[in-house]
Amino acid sequence: MTTSDDKWAMIERLDAGEPARSPEETQARAPYERLFERIRDLDEIAPPVGWEDRVVARWAAARRKRRLRIAVGATATVALAAVLLQLCSVPDTRLDVAVLAPPGSTRRGDASVGDLLRVQARGDQAHLELRVYLGAGLVARCPGNPACRRDASLLELDWKLADAGAYQIIMLLSSSDIPAGGGAIDRDLLDARSAGTSIEIHHLTVAP
């Protein structure tokens, strides 16, 4: 072997298991062959007793942990979906007010005497009530009025606006009994609020 390149080529051939190309190469290979043989013959030592059991225990523990993680992940996903569903669901509570003018009448402002007030209230709790106040006094309530219709969680009231003035259409919603009211609006609303009733108010001005 005269150059480093020759030597490296020789080592590569030896590494690849190729036979020596000349007696000189055989001689040059000898120390490397002995080195590789020594490395091949390096001792191996046994791991501490019981290592197999510890591997199995570790694997089993990792598998349990992985399954627990999957279970926790799945539960969290379901819980999150439930919360999102709850947040995204539109609450089934609504007050709709419409004023219907009689055919052929001339519209002035919001509403006029002679128009028909149509109120719809939808609530998802046990007690639902509609009230119509003119000024401070109660003029109609539903249920409790012949013009009131009830269909499951929907209340509908048609009320002819016979007088001009400031009307307040109120939806009362509660899981417990709603105070009867029937007095002045301020007193009624105060009582209702004290009883934990939720209140939604729509204002309407009716022109003569």
Binding site: P31, L35, R38, L42, D43, R58
Partner: protein
């Protein structure tokens, strides 16, 4: 698993020089092999595959320990090898000299030398295990480490 425990443990001992860390890596290697047992159908040699995993894990652990510094000084400090591990790895003076010469090489190069000439693992798999490109690791071993080992053995009185 039982058949290859010695080979994997010895490889880890040589890299980490610490019994407890070596057994930890042995367990990690076997657990990883268990988890990826479907790959076993595609490997030529289970022993080689396990040793390749073990070397990669142990070299990673050694690098991590070096980064962590004082936290893992017991396995990171290659200048103060655990003599009891070396004693157990080398049954003769000549083998001890070879172990010491291998210890003097960078850990990834020494691991590559052992994988190639002790375990007969192909260069491509060695390159993956040590995380060095194929041609680079082969050149570093064939054109550097091999002669360094011969020089080291000669210096220790072991006839080349």
């Amino acid at each position: 698993m039982q058949a290859h425990g010695r080979a994997v443990y010895s490889a880890c001992c040589r890299i980490l020089r610490d019994d407890a860390s070596a057994e930890d890596m042995l367990q990690q290697t076997m657990t990883a092999a268990f988890n990826h047992r479907s790959k076993l159908l595609g490997v030529d040699s289970i022993r080689g595959w396990l040793i390749q995993i073990a070397n990669r894990k142990c070299l990673d652990a050694l690098r991590a320990a070096k980064r962590a510094g004082a936290l893992h000084r017991e396995i990171a400090d290659r200048d103060a090898p655990e003599t009891s591990v070396l004693d157990r790895l080398a049954s003769t003076e000549e083998r001890r000299a070879l172990e010491e010469c291998l210890s003097a090489l960078p850990p990834d190069i020494a691991a590559a030398v052992r994988m190639r000439y002790h375990d007969g693992i192909p260069w491509a798999q060695i390159a993956k295990a040590v995380g060095i490109p194929l041609d680079t690791i082969r050149m570093r071993v064939q054109r550097g480490a091999v002669d360094s080992l011969l020089d080291c053995l000669t210096a220790k009185g072991v006839a080349p």
